[in-house]
């Protein structure tokens, strides 16, 4: 039975939240094409016990590939398993999440199959029986529509553009046979170093609180960390100016040479709004700007702005949000 393949990302034995988005996107296409969703998750033995939930996002079947060789991400190993699956199940579409793993794996899978690939899809539509992808280019300055000349269609979704929706299916769990030996891989993950404090990643968080040079010195980012903590579901981001100055790690940089984020809510605090910064956050649902300069370009893209000194405004904001949370 042809179907839609959804790659379910697991890391260190945990299914990542983004999996709900990938499976939901796959469900949408499957309904339009009248086919099934096959979710595939790979990891170390023991993973099977953790996949029960996936049916609820609309997977008709959940295939679990367990092997010591898959305990950590491997471009070669994962590509082999995925490509074999796609061939065996004659999948029409293969969807990947727009994460470091998904964007590493998708191009390899497409190249091995000799088919087209697109990343950062904001929508996938079925037009006259074929899949058409919508994706931004030029850092979001231009939108594009791309069609595919072969199958399967291989695409990575942009994170945070699909809202994970429950659409309960049997989600029957099946074992996938994997015969791999990590000793054959030319690249092996030796170590995973978590960022300090196990924080939410800016690329994934539904709310991002970003700070720029207006913060004046690195210690003042405490103000933003407090605000993020009060919000609960927020990650701290940064402009390039403060990353270049060494105040914040590059992993937090938002913009053209940093991360592209599409959160529900984006706070730009003491950030002027240079075009390269906007490139990374213009697809946020709502933007709030705090800047003492009423002429700052960030106000041109902000839904809500407050003009004034961030050192007075941010503590007040944190306090009000705490109050709200305690209600």
């Amino acid at each position: 039975m042809p179907g839609i393949f959804a790659f379910v990302e697991a890391r260190e034995g945990e299914i990542r939240k983004v999996a709900g988005e990938t499976v939901t996107a796959a469900r949408g296409l499957a309904d339009a094409l009248g086919v099934e969703v096959h979710a595939v998750v790979l990891g170390a033995p023991g993973l099977r016990e953790r996949v029960g939930e996936l049916g609820k996002f609309g997977a008709d079947a959940v295939f679990v590939g367990e092997s010591e060789a898959l305990a950590r991400y491997s471009p070669e190993g994962f590509t082999t398993v995925v490509v074999n699956f796609l061939k065996e199940h004659a999948c029409d579409v293969a969807l990947f999440p727009g994460t470091a793993m998904g964007k590493d794996l998708g191009p390899r899978v497409a190249a091995r199959l000799g088919v087209g690939y697109v990343s950062d899809c904001t929508a996938l539509e079925v037009v006259g029986g074929s899949v058409v992808a919508a994706r931004p280019r030029y850092a979001g300055k231009i939108a594009s529509r791309v069609e595919f000349t072969g199958t399967p269609v291989v695409a990575a979704m942009r994170t945070n553009v699909v809202t994970a929706k429950e659409s309960r299916r049997a989600g029957e769990v099946r074992q996938l046979d994997v015969a791999l030996n990590a000793a054959d891989f030319g690249a092996i993950v030796r170590e995973i170093q978590a960022a300090a404090g196990e924080k939410l990643d800016v690329g994934e968080a539904p709310v991002v609180v970003s700070g720029g040079r207006g913060l004046r010195e690195p210690a003042n980012f405490k103000l933003l960390e407090d605000l993020a903590a009060a919000l609960g579901n927020a990650a701290v981001g940064a402009s390039r100016a403060v990353v270049d100055a060494g105040w914040r790690p590059h992993a937090e940089q938002v913009g053209q040479t940093g991360k592209t984020v599409s959160p529900q809510l984006y706070f730009a605090i003491g950030i002027s709004g240079a075009i390269q910064h906007l490139a990374g956050m213009r697809t946020a649902r709502y933007v709030v700007a705090v800047n003492k300069d009423p002429e700052a370009p960030i106000f041109k893209v902000a839904d809500y702005g407050i003009v004034g000194d961030l050192f007075e405004i941010v503590p007040r904001l944190t306090e009000e949000i705490r109050k709200l949370r305690n209600e």
């Binding site: 471009p75 940093g258 041109k300």
Partner: protein, 249 residues
């Protein structure tokens, strides 16, 4: 240490891009083109490897039109030894470019094939990984820093919430992001020297991309919102708007 770096000529990030009459390409008039910023990191990394080893070669490849020769000259001025322009008349991306680069790399011997994490025009973030796959080489993408010792590469790559330390066999493919390789500027001496360095041109063996760009369009402009107020007294009104209008809390 022999490195081959693949670079692309792209519009400067400050440039306003306008859609061409065909609705499927951009209008190049008045656009300033530069070496893709991520590829600068790759060139820098290659130069540092050569310097650290005290021997080796840095070869730079680009698939593109005649204008891309200028971009290759920039890399020669930075310190690369030689460059090859793989010429195409039409813009190509994705698997089509990967095939052309893989065909050239296959003819050559190298330890490292370095790429930018992504080209800032198509924003695809794919070509490096595709080339690795076509050549059946190990790869690590989104690398901030790496070292080479005892025939192995140790690379740090950015993943959500942390970094992965990956060990790779040589030869291998790495795609670079911002990290340890702040690119150098070309010195006047470098620019002079670049004029005498070899820059070969040949036809690219472009493959099939498997995709077709149907149409470009301008995304809806973000509407400038409103200034809620001045100073901390505007905070309660902001919270009200976020709750009642935006409904984000």
């Amino acid at each position: 240490m022999k490195s081959i770096v693949c670079v692309k000529r792209v519009p400067d990030t400050e440039t306003r891009v306008r859609i061409g009459a065909d609705q499927a390409s951009i209008d190049p008039s008045g656009v300033k083109f530069v070496l893709n910023p991520y590829d600068e990191f790759a060139v820098e990394a290659a130069l540092r490897q050569k310097e650290a080893a005290g021997a080796g070669e840095v070869l730079v490849l680009s698939v593109g039109g005649t204008d891309s020769a200028e971009t290759l000259r920039t890399t020669l001025a930075m310190g690369a030894d030689a460059a090859v322009l793989l010429k195409t008349d039409t813009p190509v991306e994705g698997l089509a470019v990967a095939a052309a680069l893989a065909a050239e790399l296959k003819e050559r011997q190298f330890d490292l094939a370095l790429f930018g994490m992504k080209a800032v025009d198509d924003d695809l973030q794919a070509v490096g990984g595709m080339v690795a796959e076509l050549l059946d080489l190990p790869s690590a993408t989104v690398v901030t820093e790496f070292s080479v010792a005892h025939g192995k590469v140790t690379a740090r790559r950015e993943v959500e919430g942390g970094t992965e330390v990956v060990e790779l066999r040589l030869p291998c493919v790495l795609t670079l992001t911002k990290g340890a390789y702040e690119p150098r500027y070309a010195s006047l001496k470098g620019i002079m020297a670049a004029k005498k360095k070899p820059l070969e041109e040949k036809a690219a063996q472009v493959g099939d991309a498997g995709t077709r760009l149907q149409q470009l369009s301008y995304p809806p402009e973000r509407q400038a919102g409103r200034i809620v107020g001045q100073g901390p007294d505007a905070v309660p009104e902001l919270i009200r708007l976020l709750r009642e209008e935006a409904k984000v809390f």
